[in-house]
Symmetry: D2
Subunit: 358 residues, 4 copies
């Protein structure tokens, strides 16, 4: 008996165990199974496509990824230009700074006695601990840094570039901020006021009422202009949050001024949130297509998984399979010093959108 | 046979069905059952305690709550001072503005054909639709509003007060922003750059390079100073997101300058996210105690539920049971016009923290 | 400006607060909002339709609903014939028996010290406690009951009817099993071997090797024959689990023998699990349509919510609005004593499917 | 500055990318990060401990794992005795039989038009398709098999052994059932009535009223006796469901008759469900300790992840690191033919518990 149907074309190939398998091999076989295993394998293939085509890749990072141990992995993505522009929550950058300054996060327990932790001035993030005294010291270090800056509003992009520079000069250490500084990869932090970096800036303001101004509206314009400058873009979202929407907003805002922009061409998201409660973090990539955030013919996949489990496997595999593609890639060249960044040698305005006629 | 144990004290009382039950009655009976039903009932009791004690209540709103139909309910909470300070995502305020301007959200389907929707310029939020053309019109309306403001940075608090005033003057309509304007309840929007309000501001900037400056660092200082001015606070969080952390950050930052502050005294959160992926939205209130965001002896409860299901029941019940308490409540009196707000008639600084000796 | 689109037809009506609102009123207003609030309101309307049309309503109960305080609510549904046939996990029936025998569940904490609990012989179900000694006593009571039965295989349906009778005769107490016995509502428990009822039966077997035989394959036939006898059916699923699939399987198996059967006509499910991991509990009702478990034109809704929060509101509302419909309802009349049940006075075979020509 | 606290002992070591890394290497580095990445790495280490100590390992499989592509991976675990006893939902065994009989599952889409699928007789499981006609053919094949059996109740353990034998003799194909037959690994299916295997048995009964009797209560006794015979046990649970509780119940029931039994010594669970709704699938391993299902000093870990993503990585790593341990392992030797199984050459009763004095 044989059932003919257009729906029965590509059989599931059961995954076979191989103790010598590299991540690359494993994901290749996972592409023929079902559910989230396949989705992760598909994410690798789509990311390879992004790298092979001439497009600008945005990476959004939300959730306690750097506290959770993915800091050097994300720095690797920045340094080797698996991505072109990072959009992050403040916490991920702050935790990165914490470690680059030589402090650590510690493995703890999700079932700790939090009153005891408070007594010992230990801050808990699920199963991870950090020292509050060290955090306070970071805040003051950021305040002192902010007081060295000019007394004018900085976009978060410019501010974080200068922060990366300062960190590199003081520590010479690897990490996300220093890798982005050295590789001239812009970082946007749209919710910087909702983070300890913002708290550090507010402490600078406390000492000098003219310090600590961040121009987050300038960030909107710059991020849209990056899309307008080269209207082929891709979105990789880890965890959702403000970076997810900010990356999509850049595309929508760009399209308002330039009809050539038609939404991201590729999209990968690794999220644990779900669509049916209506929040942005869990929203589907199909929903993004209704808004024009994502092209209706985009290649896209959602992986429903914790990033600390999915990303090590995904990036290890990609490091194997995308090496040649990475080598021949010619990504956008950014110059990030100063209030006006440059892309490919030409200034990219921060105070007006670059318009294109239809 | 009878089992004696200190752990077996309060029996579950099975919920009984009563067709005439009010929300008030129902929640009273749900307090003796288990799991999330009880948690919701407990949330009502804790909220009543907040109202009855002399404390400042922060409400955080994240997720598409106003698009989802909770706009007038939240306005009711603002108008009748169930809460004292609102911290919101930009989207919730933008969708509120959309409706106050006479536009609507529409009931749709989560399984729509998003390419068709894009063709019709319909933006989808799970099962809810809105017109993109109307959204574009809102953005321009916001840009025009922003161009009427002085050319200086505004905290989001001041900006949103002026936006509420403008909206009230133009429409006379009810909603969150207009209720907050009329009741002098401050609204903070720490991630304003990640929203269509931010997009409107960026369009103002496009027309005039000196327009559209938001001082989000000033928001950090003002929100902390609200805590310092009256260091008994409570936190109600709907959905998590940036408002959740911003409300906690206000408490932590305040404590840095005033040792009398010891974390929120009461906390209620209604979230669907979970703790075990390490993100802030799902983080437990116990975890918040390790950081000192929440007092270790605080009354607190987490309800794991969609807000559109939980909040109508919760607030309907509260409207019944808390009426007297609300009537005799003497909440903080804010004056919100201008760069420096006033609390109880006295200016509250936006550029330095109010310090208290130990 | 006005946007014309066939997709923009039914506007969201923001929920308004009314302290005097009954559950009935509240759900009526929730039907015009979005996300899970609306889904719950829709569930009420669909359940009313089920009651008003001539159809057989299956209710599936999984998760610790009776331990959690919904025992009398479910008994109410059985007694007043909001439903016609119950399919349950063993745990829900066992916990019901525990309370009908006069024992209690207790309100505890999800963050208990479980080693201490074990020392005190307290069994924990999230935030609910019970005495292990009392559970052991139940097991022996069930074993003693099983030894009073004839030495032949009983379907779980017959066994649970006799258990309800025995419990009623011994205690005269209200509850699910006794309500089902008194109202002649059949209960199936397809995974009875995975429960403490099964453990009690195994202890009967230990004493007498000819005792404790359950004919779970007979249950498959009887449940399908209930569908064949009256091929208009509806499915209400709380929590998923084995009852969800068993109710669907009855429809599929029935259709194999009777082409008039075309899947359930109505379906409501309240689940917290999600579709994207491939498990049955979270599977969508759309997916059920591909299998023919549900008619492709069925009215259906999924509510993503904890049952202890959603069901009290839903059933309180239904008790108000469906009273007249319930009164005029003429549900299937079952006679459940003996190995062959009767429906409408006619025997319903347990060992062969009732066949209908096309 | 250096913060001394007993809570700050083991620093997080950020994961570093290595394109040549094997699964083994990767998991070794993931053990020093946080959240679910570490939990998966910990699961590997605990499984290695199970294999290295003299203990009986139960594996529970729920969710559509075999349809999803993990069939040969699970067969590998059975064949190479990474585990000693399998407890499964019926669906996983049925889908295994489907493929061993030469039929396939197919890669589809979670957003299919389910009415079209129904028209083509395609059954969907999230993103996976199968032919309903082929399923109907399986059911008849199972019915025919059941009619070859003796007319007496079979435990699911004996029935599935005979099914594995029949399948092996007819197809000579690899898979879970045939691997278990060949390796003499017992399989229990406590909810067999809630599956297509049960439906096949019911069709046998339809043809012969004396056929298709399953003694699921015998399964309870046999599974507990396996624990009593060698009271050092471990539990690995994939997805939760009836297998999770059945494996725990075996331990609890065994302890009732043999005080040497003190709960499983090791436990790993990979689940997506969460504890706070009170269901068994998501219940924590700490909760299991209150019941005595798990020893209070057991090594245990919960991984919150989809099994199709986590298990390929976990088992690939284990295949590398546990090879020597597996080789020197001397697991229980089962003989499974007939109504009374044998363990280590001695009969294991199916109708009474083996008792031990204190």
């Amino acid at each position: 008996m044989s059932h003919q149907s257009r729906f029965l074309r590509v059989p599931v190939e059961p995954f076979t165990v191989d103790p010598h398998a590299s991540a690359d091999d494993m994901l290749a076989r996972m592409e023929r199974i079902s559910f989230q295993g396949r989705n992760l394998a598909t994410a690798r293939r789509i990311w390879e496509r992004m790298l092979g085509e001439d497009c600008t890749i945005f990476l959004g990072t939300a959730g306690a990824l750097t506290a959770g141990g993915l800091r050097l992995l994300i720095a690797h993505l920045v340094e080797h230009r698996y991505i072109d522009c990072l959009v992050s929550t403040g916490a991920n950058l702050y935790h990165d700074l914490h470690e680059t300054r030589g402090r650590r996060h510690y493995i703890g327990s999700p079932r700790a006695d939090d009153a005891l932790l408070q007594g010992d001035q230990i801050d808990r993030v699920y199963d991870t601990y950090a020292s509050e005294a060290e955090f306070v010291d970071n805040d003051e270090w950021i305040a002192a840094f902010a007081l060295t800056l000019e007394r004018r509003p900085y976009t978060s992009r410019e501010l974080l570039y200068e922060l990366g520079r300062h960190l590199w000069e003081q520590t010479g250490g690897g990490g996300i901020l220093t890798a982005a500084y050295r590789a001239s990869v812009p970082i946007f932090c749209p919710a910087i006021a909702d983070s300890s970096i913002g708290m550090g800036l507010s402490q600078a303001r406390h000492r000098d009422a003219t310090a600590g101004y961040v121009d987050v509206v300038g960030d909107i314009i710059e991020s849209a202009n990056i899309v307008i400058r080269h209207p082929r873009t891709a979105s990789i979202v880890l965890g959702g949050g403000t970076p997810k929407n900010f990356i999509n907003q850049a595309s929508v805002q760009a399209e308002f001024y330039d009809p050539r922009v038609g939404g991201h061409r590729f999209a990968v998201q690794i999220v644990t949130d779900v669509p049916h409660f209506g929040g942005a973090s869990g929203s589907s990539l199909e929903e993004a297509q209704s808004w024009g955030k994502l092209a209706t013919d985009a290649e896209q996949v959602t992986v429903h998984a914790d990033v600390t489990l999915a990303l090590p496997l995904l990036v290890s595999a990609l490091a194997g399979s995308a090496r040649e593609t990475l080598r021949s890639r010619a990504p956008l060249a950014f110059e990030l010093a100063g209030p006006t960044m440059r892309v490919g040698g030409r200034p990219l305005p921060a105070a007006r959108f670059e318009e294109h006629g239809p």
